[in-house]
Amino acid sequence: MSIFAAKFRHYWSLTKPSQSGLLLATGLAGYMSARCPVFNIGTILSLSASLFLAIAGSTVLNMWWDRDIDAKMVRTKKRATSKGLVDENEVLRAGLILSVIGVGWAVAMDALYGLIVFAGLFFDVLIYSIWLKRRTAWSIVWGGISGAMPILAGRALGLGAIDWIGVTLALGILFWIPTHTLTFSMKFAKDYADACVPTFPSTYGLTVTRATIAISSLLAAVAMVVAGYGIGMTWGFLRLLGVLSTGLLMLAVTITFNPSERVNFSLFKYASIYMLAAMILVVLEVV
């Protein structure tokens, strides 16, 4: 039993539960933003399960692919794949099984929804991780596009089509992701250098990276507010979204003109809180 529990812990950690949970939250928020009958428990559970399995599957596959560079980085060398705590072929099989079940379930629910979930997985594993991550700092754009797929998929499932609001919500996530990942790549610049993974800070320098963070934060905030307006958020909720967006922008401006490790860290953390809060607002608006 303890062996099984230990193995489960290892695999659970490989799914990056916090990150997968946040992406799942965006998917649920996207679905609810369509103002379809959101209290259909069967659909909600199927959406949650299929999306979580697909996200977890792609994350496990990324871990499997990146196990060599993860082992070179202080931040990731304790991962189960880097430390050899799990068999690498078994990890590959687990990632594939989770992905196939997740995408298959999604396709069975709705073809368009399934296609978008598959696109997210395809962009994340094949384009971002396998093809571009070790070649160019611009790989994060594709990582961002894959991260934007759950919210688009959720809304497409609720609506039965892709509309401008879904695209704007996806853009909000797409522009938010650099705020998150670029602050991360600045904080762990040495790790990425040790693993020979090109990042914005190592390729274009800190000034350009900080300016990119500021611009992407501005675009993310604008996209979320526009999407909120499109969804039909009340003025009160839009005000609150505006306040939270202002906080994000202020930190982004601060990191550009008065950079420090502390501001960098606070922007990284605040960006997560911002996105979670934005998703909660979308859900509360409908509920």
Partner: protein
């Protein structure tokens, strides 16, 4: 000094209460009070989140003095605009000039006591407005009795501001540790009083 778990819980509730006030606590108000209260509670919300993320060290930033001026100025402007119609324009001017003066005197090096005087006048007038106006309105029957809670909240945030200001000037009334232990409670109680006062007053 590190944040404890209870500090984090208190700050989270502060952020939630401030969020509530921004989102649904000002329905029916006119445009300027909505803007003013949104700025005031918005700063409270962002401040609570930043302390939650970065810990008490964030209070050592020189920007804190400028940002913390926004809260009493914005809240008092909203109150004056709603309840003292004849003072609207003059108080709006005071708010703008007061904020710019604090920002200016805190942004450049000054050897004289002008920054302290400006800060004391601005905080003093705004603080007394938040403290006295709701209480007077409640006593006179212009508002419901519970509106006076806004005044109590104003007094508490004034105490918090004083404790921090004296700490920053190197002449603390209480030790830094005590102030930091009290700060999350003070922030939550203040925000709760403001929200309750506006809701039930």
């Amino acid at each position: 000094m590190k944040l404890t778990s209870s500090d984090r819980v208190l700050l989270l509730f502060t952020a939630l209460l401030a969020s509530y006030q921004v989102a649904v606590g000002m329905d029916g108000f006119s445009a300027l009070p909505i803007i003013a209260y949104t700025i005031g509670f918005g700063v409270l919300l962002i401040a609570a989140l930043l302390i939650f993320i970065l810990g008490f060290d964030v209070l050592d930033s020189p920007v804190v003095v400028i940002v913390s001026t926004v809260i009493p100025l914005a809240l008092s402007l909203g109150l004056v605009w709603q309840h003292l119609a004849s003072y609207r324009t003059s108080y709006l001017l005071f708010t703008i000039i007061g904020f710019l003066a604090v920002a200016w005197t805190r942004s450049i090096q000054m050897q004289n006591k002008l920054p302290v005087i400006i800060l004391a006048i601005t905080h003093g007038i705004a603080g007394m407005t938040i403290f006295l106006l709701p209480i007077i309105l409640s006593i006179q029957g212009g508002m419901k009795p519970l509106f006076s809670l806004v005044g109590v909240g104003g007094a508490l945030i004034g105490i918090g501001g004083l404790l921090l200001s004296f700490l920053k000037t190197g002449k603390p009334i209480l030790s830094r540790g005590t102030i930091m232990r009290l700060f999350p409670i003070l922030l939550l109680v203040t925000t709760a009083l403001f929200v309750a006062g506006f809701q039930y007053g």
